[in-house]
């Protein structure tokens, strides 16, 4: 199970599924199971998706590619919405944030 905070609705489930297509290229694991996504919110009135997320390290060389991929994947699943990212490092990412599925994947790798 992931620890992402969402409004428990279909839209968030679809958005999370879309974000599971975004991979951390070094680790080979998707960013949801890696624990990089903290919160997803849909603002129906402004047609915006807010994604609060982090990176494994603040100056991650792949950071820009990952955030671009997040925006593109959300746009692809919700063409009528605008995706906005809030990149936070408080709390910083830690290994405890990796989901059970993620750990199993890394154990097999």
């Amino acid at each position: 199970m992931t620890n992402v905070i969402t409004n428990d609705n279909l839209q968030c489930t679809v958005a999370l599924a879309a974000l599971q297509n975004v991979m951390d290229p070094e680790i080979g694991l998707n960013i949801v199971d890696l624990g990089l996504v903290y919160q997803l919110d849909f603002d129906e009135s402004e047609k915006k998706i807010y994604c609060a997320m982090t990176l494994t390290t603040q100056f991650c060389p792949m950071g820009e590619s990952i955030t671009n991929a997040v925006k593109e994947n959300l746009k692809l699943s919700f063409p009528e919405y605008e995706a906005e990212i809030d990149l936070t490092f408080d709390p910083p990412w830690s290994h405890e944030m990796i989901s059970e599925e993620g750990r199993e994947f890394l154990n097999e790798q």
Binding site: V22, P25, E26, I27, G28, Y38, Q39, A52, T54, L55, T56, T57, Q58, F59, C60, P61, M62, G63, E64, S65, I66, T67, N68, A69, V70, K71, E72, N73, L76, E84, I85, D86, L87, T88, F89, D90, P91, H95, I98, R103, L106, N107, E108, Q109
Partner: protein
Amino acid sequence: MFSTTGNTEATKTTSWKVVLPFYGYAAIAFLIATILLLFSASDITSHYFLPHTLAIIHIMALGWGTMMILGASHQLVPVLIEGKLYSNKLAYASFTFAAIGIPLLVNGFYVFNMGLHTQCGGILIILSVIAYLINLAASMVKSKQENVHAFFIFTAALWLLATAIVGLLLLYNFTEPLLPKGSLNYLPVHAHIGIVGWFLLLVMGVGSRLIPMFLISKYNNTRQLWWIYGLINGGLLSFVYIFLYTDSKSLLSIPLLAVAASIVLFGDFCFKAYQQRIRKKVDEQMKVSLLSVLMMLLPVIFLVIIITLLILSPKENVSLIITYGFIIFFGWITAIILGMTFKTLPFIVWNKVYHHLAGKGKTPNPKDLFSKKVFKWMSVAYILGFVMFTAGILFYSAIVLQIAAALLLLTSLLYNWNVIKLLMHKPVSL
């Protein structure tokens, strides 16, 4: 809960334009060094202070080791100090000065002419290090974080500057006596502040951050890293003092013990990081890098033997000293570069080529941008070449040295093949 920041963009990483020239230059330098080694293999055992040997050592130390480390460092400094690189222009300046200075210096050694051209080469290398130091210092000042890795890198760069200045002094001392003794007498100081102060300190500072990161390991021990930092710097300072101001050979065991202890502590750090890794499978590049950590112990063992023999008899054992130098430059330093190149370069190239395509379609994995088969053959050729060459020096076997040098040339050709494959990569959509 988390804090909102209003940050919508990830911090930009160092441009590939800054980093790739260093990687390309280093790859060519490695190739040239192995070609020269092939032509000089049979007479390398006669003495370490020979024109061709000096040329090969300086291509390996500066063109290969230092250029590669400077390139990777410009890319990794933001990750290590948690701040942006201060200036791309200073990075270009650092590259340009070194890129011109190294061939001038090496050519001077090769033809054994320590005149103006060679001295200009030395001055340009110093300018390159100064540009790097300013860039590093300014990046660290701008970064809000203070961490042990930043201290390792900055101190290592200071030792590099000291190495280059001492090297230039020794060059001048050939043509005009500036020092009380001949240049040959000071070679151990020049060599060890470079090997221990620059290479060892930097590799440990960077490795202690990258090895747990690449293994996805929970292990971290800042206190242990500070001990390592203190032991290396304390050991090196005491070595310089003992070497310059006393005649005692037995006192040299003090710095040797300090550096050996730091290596043991670093090995323990890496082993614990390995034990506590979350990702179970370790890729080939990491295996080669971890092997290089073990290889750090080899020069220490040789140094113990060399110092013990020096205490027993004042006559130098030349083949042991040559082996010692060989296992540092072609062993430990080369092994870590062979492994780490293919842990870092694929990501730099991937960022260059696919950065704008992220999320817009399936893109290849960075790990698939180079040939794993070629990497494997390169590793086999390297290990065989390294072991055979070491045996060849110790047993004075010209034929073994020649075969081993050919294997090391093959290693550099395969390495270059993969580097060129990476650098020439064009976007493909899957």
